[in-house]
């Protein structure tokens, strides 16, 4: 998937990074701007990190649990690098990057216990929720992992599943327009921050596609807002000193906190606009119920 660039351009990027400047004018510890947009239903999120664009959609189903784990639901991740993201993607062939990307995000969430499958149980042994998360890479302009990780977190926080009442062995599912849907239980939000390494022990945050094609190696940290490292991924590349890795982790902690706040803010804003549009509809006399009144409190509670 590496982009082919000319030798002159490569030399230019390297020489400017040697002077601690980058071709798009960022400083070496700056991320590109993040834009989060929500779809018309819950759990549809499009995130832009600079020009990189990732769309994540979440839906839920009720399924039967595995017999050996009767009270655990499922989180199913599906990563798709769309052929529209770059000319070099062949739709008829599997892409190894696809699996790598999905696995890092999935492991980061599951193994740090950010999402737990036990909270998805409705009736032990017969009915559990299965949450399907589809990650679509739409535009590949570098640092797919960070962009995908932000969009997954935003989608998980934004998603609401229908409310269920259980009496004995009977479960009633209340459709979204009948009763307030409930958010997923997300304990914390590990966000990936990627560093690119260059000669002379220089490292940059959030490499774009041109920088990715000339850098020596990269390192991704999955960090949550409590300053805990939930995963580190360094897939080959140049060897890095311990000192440098520690420096990266410190930067990652700060960046992840900033991004987490931005995601939460945008979700609160989105729910506010939803609420006001529903209120407007109510005033105009159409038959909408004001069923979003409690959402805002729930999001704040998640913090």
């Amino acid at each position: 998937m590496k982009e082919v660039i000319s030798k002159n351009e490569k030399d230019f990027i390297l020489s400017s990074i040697d002077k601690y400047t980058r071709i798009d004018g960022r400083s070496i510890t700056d991320m590109r701007s993040i834009k989060i947009e929500f779809g018309k239903s819950f759990g549809l999120v499009e995130v832009q990190l600079g020009k990189t664009r990732v769309y994540t959609s979440i839906t839920c189903d009720i399924v039967e649990p595995k017999p050996e784990r009767p009270n655990e639901g499922f989180y199913v991740f599906n990563t798709d690098i769309s052929p529209m993201s770059s000319v070099s993607v062949d739709p008829n062939r599997g892409n190894p990057l696809e699996n790598e990307l999905g696995r890092i995000i999935e492991k980061g969430l599951k193994e740090s216990r950010a999402i737990d499958t036990e909270s998805l149980c409705i009736i032990s042994g017969s009915k559990v929720w299965s949450i399907k998360i589809s990650i679509h890479i739409l535009d590949d302009c570098g640092n797919l992992l960070d962009c995908a990780s932000i969009s997954v977190i935003a989608a998980l926080l934004h998603f609401r599943k229908p409310d269920v009442t259980v009496i004995g062995n009977e479960a009633t599912i209340h459709p979204i327009d009948e009763r307030e849907p409930v958010p997923l239980s997300i304990h914390h939000t590990p966000i990936s921050i990627t560093f690119g390494f260059f000669p002379n022990e220089i490292m940059i945050v959030d490499p774009d596609n041109k920088e990715e094609s000339v850098m020596d190696g990269k390192l991704s940290f999955l960090v949550n807002i409590h300053k805990e490292i939930c995963g580190v991924s360094k897939g080959g590349g140049t060897s890095t000193s311990v000192h440098q890795v520690l420096k990266c982790s410190k930067i990652a902690v700060i960046k992840a906190a900033e991004i987490t706040l931005q995601i939460k803010e945008s979700i609160i804003n989105d729910i506010k606009t939803r609420q006001s549009s529903i209120n407007n509809n109510k005033r105009n006399g159409s038959g909408f119920r004001n069923n979003n009144s409690k959402n805002l409190e729930m999001v704040e509670h998640n913090k």
């Binding site: 599906n78 529209m84 159409s286």
Partner: protein
């Protein structure tokens, strides 16, 4: 489901009323052309690469360019149903693209569904047309598509209610569905697909109603005009 007396549908639209359309062009950076087309909750993103090198020699055509359409649903993997939609979109757009201009090349159209709330094939064709325009692929006209539906009615089979641009709720209650695509230059049908049973009369009735919906092509012209004028300013 539909209150017959007032001809109002459950979603508040009248029989022949389309959903409000929205579009955005050139939103992707890597693709040669891209467009997002939404009809209320149905939303589709289309991207076009072309003319590019054919990715497998087997598909190369000596006299014209090969049109490839990839359709990805919002959730999960592509199934045989998506392959069918792929083919419908391909047949429709292939008829307006001037494929003979660039022999031994490929034009890739990639459709990504954002959310599906009915009439997804029509929405995909409309998005693909806007994306092709954005990519500057030579075409002999615009292409607009519309879905019509005959409602399932237990009481009276002959008086089925025909509605335009159904949403998912209505599609689930359909007796028959008809998808049409029209080309703007000759105003001829380029694609027609029916699902379910409908009588000959009903088919022509649908066709007549579909003809009245050139507002889609008018909308596309306006969208492209707005974008180009905006660029000049």
């Amino acid at each position: 489901m539909v209150k017959k007396q007032e001809f109002r549908r459950l979603n508040g639209r009248t029989q022949g009323q389309l959903r409000s359309m929205e579009s955005e062009q050139s939103l992707l950076n890597k693709a040669d052309g891209s467009a997002k087309f939404s009809q209320n909750k149905t939303s589709v993103l289309a991207a076009v690469y072309g003319p590019i090198e054919v990715n497998s020699a087997r598909k190369e055509k000596i006299l014209k360019s090969y049109v490839e359409v990839t359709f990805t649903p919002a959730l999960g993997n592509t199934t045989y149903l998506d392959k069918e939609k792929e083919l419908l979109v391909k047949n429709a757009v292939e008829s307006v693209i001037l494929t003979t201009l660039h022999p031994r090349t490929q034009v890739s159209v990639i459709i990504q569904v954002y959310s599906d709330d009915g009439s997804i094939v029509s929405c995909s064709i409309n998005a693909a047309c806007l994306a092709l325009l954005d990519a500057g692929i030579e075409m002999n006209g615009l292409i607009g598509s519309i879905t019509l539906m005959n409602e399932d009615d237990d009481e009276d089979n002959n008086k089925c209610l025909m509605i335009v641009d159904p949403d998912l709720n209505e599609e689930n209650n359909s007796k028959a569905m008809a998808i049409f695509a029209f080309s703007s230059n000759s105003n001829n049908i380029v694609m027609s697909k029916t699902i379910g049973t409908l009588t000959e009369d009903q088919y022509f009735e649908c066709l007549k109603a579909a003809r009245g919906c050139d507002s889609i092509i008018a909308y596309m012209k306006l969208a492209v005009k707005n974008r180009i004028m905006g660029q000049n300013n």
